[in-house]
């Protein structure tokens, strides 16, 4: 019996913790906390700073058969030594509500998240979480693993959801790809998912051709834009002028989608994100020109190819919009040549470097990238 009548106030009703107080004891922990632990890179053993540690105390009401009755959440970040401390729950529930569960999630971009109640790999219940002195070892997020599945696993709210936003975008792309392949749903729950084939934008434009078209003679390095993840429907090329400001750079984005309608939808969204977009419809089925500072942009929809292309060109590389339009017109038919590749390039999906932050699966945009894209895509319409 969980309920009693209290004249002068009762201690909060708290379920028994399903985890021990410490790793070296079988004594049950306290669901109310406090909690502490350390977050390490599973491969290197080094501490991970800046990981989000998000916790939730879930309340229920009713006896035996009950209903959700709110929650208290808290979020902290690990310090430079990878340590976190979550203070004891201060706001204990009133009268008939009881603390039914406690959940801790550790999230760091580029790693597989950690939950106190379940493992990501095999969905089995986690048995090694402890209230204090908890040790969290984060694995790198496997290349080609399902973001749909990972987003489901992480859950959460507040700062955790904010940090997860790029993965939510990837999850959406994954579902779109799955729909295109007729395998509705990107989460089959398996742990040994084969790496997905990724769109390869390389045939669209080469350094030599960009030089020839623009007359630029300086050195150009080729990379990918870091703001959107490469997928089987999206890829990009960033031609970065060595030793020059971004106004000498160029970039191509391509979305090759399953249907014309999806392409149209993507195009509408892209146009909405482009600053100062001006409808011209001079290329493909629809096109716009855009400009922000010393960056020129052109975007085109090609329904027949179910493709959307965007070319961004610095004003010191492309003399004007007409030149950018001419370049985009030239490369548009090459969308037919684009193929999928399961190979990964060292710059984006290689095994993790021990020295770098874990951004290989989805590189964080550099400062240059952030400036160079004409406006970061946001998680809103």
């Amino acid at each position: 019996m969980l309920l009693t009548v209290c004249a002068g106030g009762c201690a909060p009703l708290v379920a028994e913790a399903p985890f021990p107080a410490r790793p070296d004891t079988v004594q049950p922990g306290d669901l109310l906390g406090p909690f502490d632990g350390r977050v390490l890179d599973a491969a290197t053993g080094k501490p991970i700073a800046g990981a989000i540690v998000w916790v939730s105390w879930g309340f229920e009401v009713g006896r035996g058969l009950s209903a959700p009755a709110g929650a208290v959440t808290k979020s902290v970040e690990t310090d430079s030594d990878g340590r976190y401390v979550i203070p004891r729950l201060a706001e204990t529930p009133d009268d008939q509500r009881r603390v039914a569960r406690f959940t801790l999630v550790v999230y760091k971009r580029g790693y597989t998240a950690y939950r106190s109640d379940r493992r990501f790999e095999d969905i089995s219940p986690r048995r090694d979480f402890s209230q204090t002195m908890n040790l969290v070892k984060l694995d790198r997020f496997p290349v080609g693993a399902s973001h749909v599945r990972h987003v489901r696993f992480v859950g959460g709210s507040g700062p955790l959801k904010v940090a997860l936003a790029p993965e939510i975008m990837q999850a959406s792309l994954e579902l779109t790809e799955a729909a295109a392949l007729g395998s509705e749903g990107g989460d089959k729950g398996g742990r040994d998912e084969a790496p997905r084939a990724l769109l390869d934008a390389t045939p669209l434009l080469s350094v030599d051709e960009l030089r020839a078209a623009t007359g630029y003679t300086g050195e150009l390095t080729v990379d990918r834009l870091g703001d959107l993840p490469r997928s089987s429907t999206y890829d990009s090329k960033h031609f970065r002028a060595t030793g020059k400001p971004e106004s000498y750079d160029a970039a191509v984005r391509v979305w090759k989608l399953p249907t014309a309608k999806m392409a149209e939808s993507r195009y509408v969204r892209l146009v909405a994100e482009l600053p100062g977009a001006e409808v011209r419809d001079e290329l493909g089925d629809k096109s716009v020109r855009a400009k922000e500072g010393r960056l020129l942009g052109v975007a085109v929809l090609d329904r027949e190819r179910a493709a959307v292309l965007q070319l961004s060109c610095g004003a010191d590389l492309c003399r004007d919009h007409d030149q950018a339009v001419a370049l985009l017109r030239r490369i548009l038919p090459r969308v037919d040549r684009l193929g999928l590749s399961t190979t990964t390039t060292p710059t984006e999906e290689e095994a993790p470097s021990k020295e770098k932050e874990p951004a290989e699966e989805e590189p964080s945009p550099s400062k240059d990238d952030q400036q160079f894209r004409l406006r970061p895509p946001e998680l809103r319409r």
């Binding site: 019996m1 309920l3 009548v5 879930g58 309340f59 009401v61 009713g62 006896r63 035996g64 058969l65 009950s66 209903a67 959700p68 009755a69 709110g70 929650a71 959440t73 009268d95 008939q96 509500r97 569960r101 959940t103 999630v105 109640d117 379940r118 969905i123 219940p125 749909v148 987003v151 489901r152 696993f153 992480v154 859950g155 959460g156 709210s157 507040g158 939510i168 975008m169 959406s172 579902l175 779109t176 729909a179 509705e184 749903g185 990107g186 989460d187 089959k188 729950g189 309608k261 999806m262 149209e264 939808s265 509408v268 969204r269 409808v279 419809d281 929809l301 998680l379 809103r380 319409r381």
Partner: protein, 455 residues
């Protein structure tokens, strides 16, 4: 003793004696089932194509919820650990769906309407006095003192689950009627914010509907077994599934063991016994509806054995022996729960997928060619209804341009052909009526026009 103290004592005394509201599988399990069903359905594609939502199931939608709205309190009840809790009225499309699943159990006494016995076609009916049950609800925090006297508290009875889903909005504000209204409004509302709000609410209603349907995959809910399954044993099957899979690991949806039905209620029950309630009730026991203990001849063993069949190996545990060596007692143990959950959860998932496909069925295809807008019915033949054509200005403000009464339309039939709307940046078309089978339906499509059609 004061009047309040007397009431408190009465509440405490009755708490242990009378039932409370039930919730079938744990909310986290049901949210996980609905999530996997949505991911396994065509909903993402439909949201992308017919609703013009590029991120599909991950499209962020904001609800306009004023202060004091009951939804505010209900949202606050949701534990965000599974990602279902709206934040400042914002959630993804998928999040609204799973929030709807959880909110169908908030407040708890909504669960009284999640029962349906296909052998009697009745909802929950518990053999206790209504007054005692209502008093117990107060003690358990799932009812109010006022509700004891007004009858609003759970009293051991409820509407049959299919009737609850089909009830008018005045009785169930999150049933099929609400879904259809909001789905229509998601295409016809004037501003983008209002349309976001409507789509979010449509998904909340869809989540509530599939929660009720999923309850039909709990043997206790389809065998009118409230007292033993929930009161005495506190839902051992639900607790087993939660402990084993949590929300994240619920099995993926299986194959629907029947043709897709013409009507939503047929997913619950039909005369051929193909509804989820029918299949669950006839294939599984609940703790309170096991065969009665019996004395059988010539049995001398005293160990536990199982009765089962080709589909469910551990249908019930049976202990034989006792004082005479001939007693036979049935119960459901962990092996039974494992078999039940492994069979039932994929089947529930399949029915939930079918429900989502039914709710979002049909397609209109709006195209502009040679200066004319064409609207064609796709996927589903339509019955009588109204086709409304709307246009957006440059700020997304939507106005009604024309309405056409439709008597019926086969798949591929053109519903309307008219001059492309002048000055519109986007066109929305909405059909509301019934499909060829007579089931209520709302179908929409949106078409972006790159520049005003008049130019």
């Amino acid at each position: 003793m004061t009047r309040t103290a007397l009431l408190a004592a009465a509440v405490a005394a009755t708490t242990a004696l009378a039932p409370t509201a039930a919730r079938a599988w744990e909310p986290q399990t049901l949210a996980g089932v609905a999530e996997r069903a949505a991911l396994g359905s065509s909903l993402h594609r439909r949201l992308t194509e017919a609703f013009g939502r590029p991120l599909g199931l991950y499209e962020p939608l904001t609800l306009q919820v004023p202060k004091g709205d009951p939804l505010v309190e209900r949202f606050a009840a949701v534990d965000p650990e599974g990602g279902d809790a709206p934040e400042r009225g914002k959630q993804t499309a998928l999040g609204w769906l799973t929030a709807g699943v959880i909110l169908e159990g908030v407040p708890a006494d909504r669960g009284r309407n999640h029962f349906f016995d296909p052998s009697t076609l009745l909802g929950l009916r518990v053999g206790t006095t209504p007054f005692r049950a209502r008093m117990a609800a107060v003690g358990q925090g799932v009812g109010t003192v006022r509700g004891v006297f007004t009858g609003a508290n759970f009293d051991g009875s409820g509407r049959a689950a299919p009737a609850w889903v089909l009830a008018p909005r005045s009785e169930n504000e999150w049933g099929l009627a609400r879904f259809l209204d909001e789905r229509e409004r998601a295409a016809t509302a004037v501003t983008p914010a209002e349309r976001d709000d409507a789509l979010g609410r449509a998904l909340l209603a869809a989540g509530a509907i599939v929660r009720v349907l999923a309850s039909m995959g709990d043997p206790a809910h389809v065998r009118n077994d409230f007292t033993v399954a929930y009161e005495d044993e506190r839902d051992p099957l639900g607790r087993y599934a939660l402990a084993r899979w949590g929300r994240f690991g619920v099995p993926e949806p299986g194959t629907l063991p029947r043709p897709a039905p013409a009507r939503l209620e047929e997913l619950f029950h039909d005369d051929a016994g193909r509804g989820l309630a029918d299949r669950t009730a006839w294939r599984f026991f609940s703790p309170g509806t096991l065969p009665p203990d019996a004395t059988v001849p010539a049995v001398k063993r005293t160990d536990v054995d199982y009765v089962g069949n080709a589909e469910v190996r551990h249908l019930a545990a049976v202990t034989v022996g006792g004082a005479t060596g001939r007693d036979r007692r049935y119960r459901l143990d962990a092996r039974c729960h494992a078999d039940y959950a492994e069979r039932l959860l994929p089947e529930i998932g399949a029915y939930v997928v079918a429900a989502l496909e039914h709710l979002f069925r049909g397609r209109l295809e709006a195209t502009v060619s040679e200066g004319e807008l064409h609207v064609v019915a796709r996927d589903v033949a339509l019955g009588a209804g109204t086709l409304t054509i709307l246009g957006d200005d440059s700020e997304g403000k939507r106005t009604r341009l024309r309405a056409v009464e439709i008597a019926s339309a086969k798949v591929g039939a053109e519903l309307a052909k008219l001059g492309a709307p002048r000055g519109a940046r986007r066109v929305a078309v909405v059909f509301r009526g019934v499909d060829a089978a007579g089931a209520p339906i709302v179908v929409t499509d949106e078409l972006a026009l790159a520049r005003p059609a008049s130019e």
